[in-house]
């Protein structure tokens, strides 16, 4: 996993995607994600489920943020902050990776 900026943090220009050493399934509208590396599992609900759906394919964080803003009643600034925090958590748990290439705008 590589970091797109000098501090290793995810930015809106980062390209993120779910790692291959996880599996997930739906449970009554929630997403259950199991890390095959650690054996830890996670339950994602509501907006988290949608974000998880979106990161199943490589996606630029800014695009992901824009889709969430379009689909939910949320201020863009707050959405961006929350999305970055959430993606940071997913990355810390090894559930997503940040690709080298920065998506061209």
């Amino acid at each position: 996993m590589t970091s797109p900026d000098a501090n290793g943090a995810i930015t809106t220009s980062s390209l993120v995607v779910a790692t291959t050493d996880q599996v997930s399934s739906d449970l009554a509208g929630e997403a259950i994600v199991l890390s095959l590396r650690t054996g830890m599992y996670y339950g994602l609900a509501q907006v988290g489920v949608r974000v998880w759906e979106l990161v199943r394919e490589p996606i630029r964080v800014a695009d992901l943020r824009d889709m969430i803003v379009r689909e939910y009643d949320v201020e863009p600034e707050r959405c961006e902050r929350d999305v970055l925090d959430f993606l940071g958590d997913l990355a810390t748990q090894g559930l997503i990776e940040i690709r080298d290439e920065i998506a061209a705008a």
Binding site: L27, A28, L34, Y41, Y42
Partner: protein
């Protein structure tokens, strides 16, 4: 009208309704509205490994949620169960890759085979372990292959000699991330007088897609036969009820299920009575349509009055409860009265012989001690026997025929076992918690 004390609790009714291929949401909502002991439901769901399916059905109803204070129980169990299934599916594909690497063909039995055929997804069929059938001459080689890969064999718990005549080799355990249990079978049915050539199972097996590979599974008539014998014979109709009834419902849900072939197979393999009781209980309890001509073709030659009373006994023992049969001996006799092992051609073998053979010395000693009653305890036991038999033979309900509800039932459902008077069963703990919780 007095209520029969031999009835299923609301929690058990709800659990069994979720075993249907198309659960009746009206019936489920009625049960929930009537009041559910959520802790009791969680205990049952955990015992039957049904939490993720029950949770999904409860959530489908939308407006009726578990009380927030108890929410964590069922929801957390469901999440764990779903994660467990993700893990087991991953392990299953590792197992298949290992076997393929060793040039050993495997046929997926029980839950794993059904998950890819009768159910929409692997996660939709909760299971505790993975069962694969290999050719008898390759079984030892397959077992050794996994041992060489680090799977462990708790030999003190499962000594070799106990498996010499068993349908599978001693179970193997994978200790790493999450854990898993593997049973390598060399035969489909236990060798207790059933007559089914394993060659025929291999010959009729089908290849079906499973993620990015193709797997081999038994033909649906063999799958159903296996479910019925496993439940009615190996589990004595007292264990794994939800999974068995749900499997029957899922396998037979297809319009093109070959009932005629199944009847012939059940008779030829000496499993007619096992199949009859499993199908009848599924029809009665899991809101599943079983053709009457199938039940008629498989039924034991006993009057309906007798079958009806035996059914009451079996139902009252599907889950632990205060109304369960007070005597192991009586339970065994009534099992024989329904399965008719002698007439079926099973010889002297009985399911409890297997349990007795597998007891440790300490367990044998404890069992012998428990049988040494004082005269007063014997009298108490005898009275408990009489009360139980009385409840079975003289039920105070209007009918036990499917489709007619007892008039006293507060819940407008179909089926005979509807009124909840029994406290929820004692909690059954001990299912694996080997995945790390959130």
């Amino acid at each position: 009208m007095a209520r029969s004390p031999i009835l299923l609790s609301r929690e058990a009714q709800l659990l069994l309704l979720t075993a249907s291929a198309s659960p009746d949401t009206t019936a489920l909502a009625s049960l929930l509205s009537a009041g559910i002991d959520w802790a009791g439901l969680c205990d049952l769901a955990q015992r039957e490994r049904a939490a993720s399916i029950v949770w999904r059905q409860v959530q489908r109803l939308g407006s009726i949620d578990p009380p927030s204070t108890r929410d964590g129980g069922l929801r957390q169990l469901a999440t764990f169960s779903a994660a467990r299934m993700l893990h087991l599916e991953h392990v299953l594909h590792e197992i298949l890759a290992t076997l393929a690497g060793g040039g050993i063909e495997a046929l997926l039995l029980k839950g794993a085979g059904l998950a890819y055929t009768a159910y929409a997804s692997f996660a939709d069929r909760p299971m505790g372990d993975i069962d694969v059938l290999v050719l008898p001459e390759q079984a030892e080689e397959a077992w050794s292959l996994f041992r060489a890969q680090g799977w462990t064999w708790p030999s003190a718990q499962w000594p070799r000699e106990r498996y010499s005549a068993h349908q599978h080799l001693p179970p193997l355990i994978q200790q790493s991330a999450g854990g898993a249990r593997l049973e390598i079978h060399r035969d489909l049915l236990p060798g207790h007088g059933f007559r089914l050539a394993t060659d025929a199972v291999w010959a009729r097996a089908r290849r079906v897609p499973a993620n990015d590979r193709v797997v081999l599974v038994p033909h649906p008539v063999h799958q159903l036969l296996h479910v019925c014998v496993h439940f009615a014979w190996s589990h004595g109709m007292q264990w794994g009820t939800w999974r068995a009834l749900r499997d029957v419902a899922a396998i037979t849900h297809r319009d093109d299920f070959a009932w005629s072939e199944f009847i012939e197979l059940a008779r030829e393999s000496r499993a007619a009575t096992c199949c009859f009781w499993t199908l009848r209980l599924t029809q009665r309890l899991a809101d599943t349509e079983i053709p009457e001509h199938v039940l008629a073709a498989l039924r034991p030659p006993s009057p309906e009055f007798v079958l009806d009373r035996l059914e009451r006994h079996y139902v009252s023992n599907l889950f632990p409860s205060e109304s369960s049969c007070p005597s192991v001996q009586l339970t065994n006799w009534l099992w024989e009265a329904g399965i008719l092992p002698g007439r079926s051609g099973h010889g002297p073998a009985r399911p409890w012989h297997v349990s007795e053979r597998w007891m440790t010395e300490q367990e044998r000693h404890d069992a012998a001690s428990a049988r040494r009653h004082t005269p007063w305890a014997r009298l108490r036991n005898f009275r408990a026997w009489l009360r139980y038999v009385g409840r079975i033979v003289y039920p105070h309900t209007t009918s036990t025929h499917a489709g007619r509800s007892p008039s006293t039932s507060a819940v407008p459902l179909q089926g005979p076992y509807l009124t909840a008077t029994v406290p929820h069963p004692t909690a059954t703990q001990g299912s694996s918690h080997d995945l790390t919780r959130r």
